[in-house]
Symmetry: C2
Subunit: 197 residues, 2 copies
DNA sequence: ACCTGAACACCGTTCAAGT
DNA sequence: ACCTGAACACCGTTCAAGT
């Protein structure tokens, strides 16, 4: 008979960076960035908080870097699209969904941390533009512009859809009614893509 | 002879919300958001930290809201520009400068806090577009798109110009050399403005 | 190798007290 | 009205110790 894993002591699956990041993302998505605490994260992993430092020696800094990379590193892929314009549009929609699904990470994406997290994403955008015939210099500009627009729009949307945001906006003399954010995003996206010759 | 203000006891000018916000902004700009502490802010104002709560009953939350409003509420003004396109371009340049000068506040601008802080800014953009002959619905889209682009680009720029960012990007296989952020910003801006009929 | 316990230097905030 | 001092419940992190 095969040895069963011991029931006593440490039979639970050991910690790993992946499990830690996953648990942290769940806390941020569910309770907000402000409630992500090493101690709370330890609780979620059924471990003492200090055990986390064994896997992330740089501590919380490294944890937040991991969250940003996990959310932001999503390269564009032209496969299955009719043309490069469609490919960029498809990527932009998917990337926006991703950012909104993890809105709590958005402030971290804006901070100076983890400068390389967006490198693969921007490189993939430039590549699609280059293959579409956009000259090198223009492709770099367009890739950054597109990414700026998507990130910025997600930021405005998160701000504008917070609890009580509509009421506060109305109180501030904001004349607009409720905003259809997706429609507005797509309209602005086409406005931007149409600028690319 | 006129009574001199007493030298003893409390002759220092009393606290005010303006002085508090100003001191806080100076700490954030000089040392980063992470070092903005009620106790440190108290030190800068030569006051015990707890005195701040007398002027900001909602505490640090209210302080951060104040910072966001102070930095982000900068309406566009068409006066002195040849046309609405020039006015928008001029506003975008000035707004980018403002965001970069207070880069530490950028993460706060992205968070859900203070939903009304951008209302006057977007309203002024819509107004310029409306007066330029852009129809109502298109003006709302264009105003949001423009603001998204400027905020998003500033975010990418702050990320990309942090200490050691170039080295980290190169290590991640980023093929680009040093980026001329201003030139890239202006090129993308024209790309976006040209999309507005 | 992997985790725990106790400890340290900080936080934001409350509350009673001073002037 | 405006500020202080002491206290409370939290933080992130170090470090020696356990298994």
């Amino acid at each position: 008979m095969v040895r069963q894993p011991a029931i006593n002591a440490q039979n639970r699956t050991p910690l790993s960076i992946e499990r830690i990041i996953e648990a942290a993302l769940q806390i941020v998505d569910g309770q907000g960035l402000g409630r992500l605490t090493m101690r709370r994260l330890g609780d979620a992993l059924e471990v003492e908080a200090m055990a986390i430092y064994h896997h992330l020696p740089r501590g919380k800094e490294q944890l937040l870097d991991g969250l940003v990379t996990h959310v932001a590193a999503a390269p564009a892929d032209a496969h299955g699209y009719a043309g490069w314009r469609d490919a960029l549009r498809g990527w932009a929609r998917a990337y926006r969904d991703r950012l909104l699904a993890h809105a709590g990470v958005l402030p971290l994406l804006v901070t100076r941390r983890n400068p390389a997290a967006l490198a693969t994403t921007t490189a993939s955008l430039r590549e699609i533009l280059r293959q579409g015939g956009v000259p090198e210099a223009g492709a770099a500009v367009a890739a950054h512009s597109l990414l700026s627009y998507v990130i910025g729009h997600a930021a405005l949307e998160v701000r504008g859809t917070g609890p009580g945001a509509a009421g506060a906006a109305a109180a501030a003399g904001e004349p607009e009614g409720p905003v259809d954010w997706e429609a507005r995003f797509l309209a602005g996206l086409d406005l931007m893509l149409s600028g690319l010759t």
